[in-house]
């Protein structure tokens, strides 16, 4: 494998059909996608277009009904068992009976790391998300934004190269969201992780990503993939530049094209 960097995520002809009481629901159909190491890929689209489902298939929380998926060159299941990724859910999903530090340490406990190693990694990741000083607090003593940061710390704690994030900032207000977006970009720049990020905010997707995957519903599919031309260094006010607005306009067009299918 020297020299060539293999795809972190490779999906081909991926499809998933849920059997529901109202008949089959085609949540994903014919998804072809390759994500390379160090990319920041956003998935955007109206709700119900299969963004969460795609992320869950990558995470092996859902099995595809057709096509293939590989993660780090393995099957999704093998990758999950090797703890190849950290997953950040839409809600923080912290355990209320554990302090913040013990929540962040949860995956480390499960992996059976030594106490000293755990303590060191907890400290490092809490520093990374600016939660120093809140180690001994319980989740319900923290604001929503801090809880979500703790849940990101938890996904970072075991140092997987791939980060899967499903609308992690969806429930937060704009100001907190901007702040966390900045921090996330900075973290990504520093760690060279691969990030798959689900959102339904166009500015968020454009601001964060190296590539934007536009999806459309019924059946859930990839309708457009847009490469970002923005530099890696992105101050918040890059969002007012013509380049940024041009990319945003392309994403919006892509979304509209997906919709016209319905109307």
């Amino acid at each position: 494998m020297t020299g060539t960097s293999p795809a972190v995520v490779a999906a081909s002809k991926l499809g998933l059909t849920f059997q529901t009481n109202d008949g089959p629901v085609q949540a994903l159909s014919n998804v072809d996608l390759t994500i390379g190491k160090g990319e920041f890929v956003s998935f955007i689209g109206p709700s119900g277009c299969g963004k969460t489902t795609l992320l869950r298939v990558i995470a092996d929380l859902e099995k595809p009904t057709s096509g293939t998926i590989s993660v780090n060159g393995m099957t999704a299941e093998q990758a999950r068992e090797k703890r190849a990724y950290g997953y950040v859910f839409q809600a923080a999903a912290l355990f209320p009976w554990r302090t913040i530090e013990r929540n962040v340490g949860l995956p480390l406990e499960i992996m059976g790391l030594s106490k000293a190693e755990q303590a060191q990694r907890i400290k490092r990741t809490l520093d990374l998300v600016n939660l120093r000083g809140f180690e001994k607090k319980y989740p319900w003593q923290l604001s929503g934004g801090m809880q979500q940061r703790a849940s990101i710390a938890r996904a970072l704690a075991f140092d997987a190269d791939l980060l899967l994030m499903d609308e992690p900032f969806g429930a937060l207000d704009e100001i907190v969201r901007d702040h966390l977006n900045e921090q996330l970009l900075e973290l990504w720049g520093r760690t060279n992780k691969t990030i798959c990020f689900v959102t339904h905010s166009i500015p968020e997707a454009v601001y964060l990503s190296t590539r934007i995957v536009v999806m459309s519903p019924r059946p859930g599919r990839v309708s457009d993939i847009i490469e970002s031309t923005l530099p890696k260094q992105r101050p918040l006010d890059i969002r007012e530049t013509p380049e940024f607005l041009a990319i945003a306009a392309r994403v919006r067009d892509g979304l509209r094209a997906g919709h016209s299918y319905d109307d």
Binding site: R56, D60, A93, F95, I110, F158
Partner: protein
Amino acid sequence: MKAPMYSWQASLAFLLVIFPIVVFVTNVGVPGLAWPYSGFSGGLAIALVTLPAWFSGRLLKLWEAALCFVCAHGAAVLLLGGIRGHEGTAGPGYYLVLASAWLLAWRCVAILSEQRPLSRLASTALRLIIPAIFGAWILIIWEAVTRGAGIPFILLPPPSAIGARIASSLPVLGADVRQTIFKAVIFGYVVGSGTGFLVAIAADRVPFLRRGLLPIGNMVSALPIIGVAPIMVMWFGFDWQSKAAVVIIMTFFPMLVNTVAGLAASGHMERDLMRTYASGYWQTLLKLRLPAAAPFIFNALKINSTLALIGAIVAEFFGTPVVGMGFRISTEVGRMNIDMVWAEIAVAALAGSVFYGVVALVERAVTFWHPSVRGG
């Protein structure tokens, strides 16, 4: 100057004693009258319940509460002393004074429960004082009415007689508690709840057990213990073991059903999270599902603390060595020693409350994170 704010309780207390005051004043010196007209103690009691009506609006709240407290309980003590030896002679004056004193106690509790104490100590004290006054007045009214109306001892003995009986029968009561609670109840509770818990985990691991056991569980929990107890006596003999068996049967299924429900209580997202860590069954059980099930498990433990006591006492009605709370109740009823029956009931109530209280305290400590405990 603000006009004084008279409380309705103190005002009504005063209105109620106008009639006794008139009778008292017009009959000073007449011999042979019933309490409160018979002398100094009645007069003092009437004066005590009148007092707060004049002062209630002019004092600081806490002083008013203290005044009401002293007057209400002073009058109660005088009243109970006055009726002793004259059971069944109470007239309207007696009940009017009792009602006034009770209203003042109400006023006192009303003021205390409005207080927003600043220190933890004060708030703990308040949490204890308010129910204590409440309980005391249940006993005072019970005592006053049974003595005042001369209710036959067999129907309802006054609490003082029950208290005296408890004091004079401590060794017997102690032996009964040891037999029934420390042997049958504790053993049955621990074994019944423990196996219920373990079987719930087995049922969680093995789905066909769950489908088979839960319907049977519902059926067995509908079994009348009256029917089971004699059979247990045949199987396990007269001593405490057969009572423990009844307790085991009663406590097993609430724990089983609650634990199974609790194990299903953790959220999908949390379980998916554990899956992303490739966490195994036991790790997920220990780190997620059991902590999430704790409120359910404690619910079962609290239900079981009550069931165990009832089960053990009732089971003793069906044959037992000559000791035990249920045995004592059934034999002393036959001998018309009603005060002893009440003494056992009081001891059982106390033991049951302590048992429940201890479980509830442990629950607060373990499920401190639950919204119902942390109050959010």
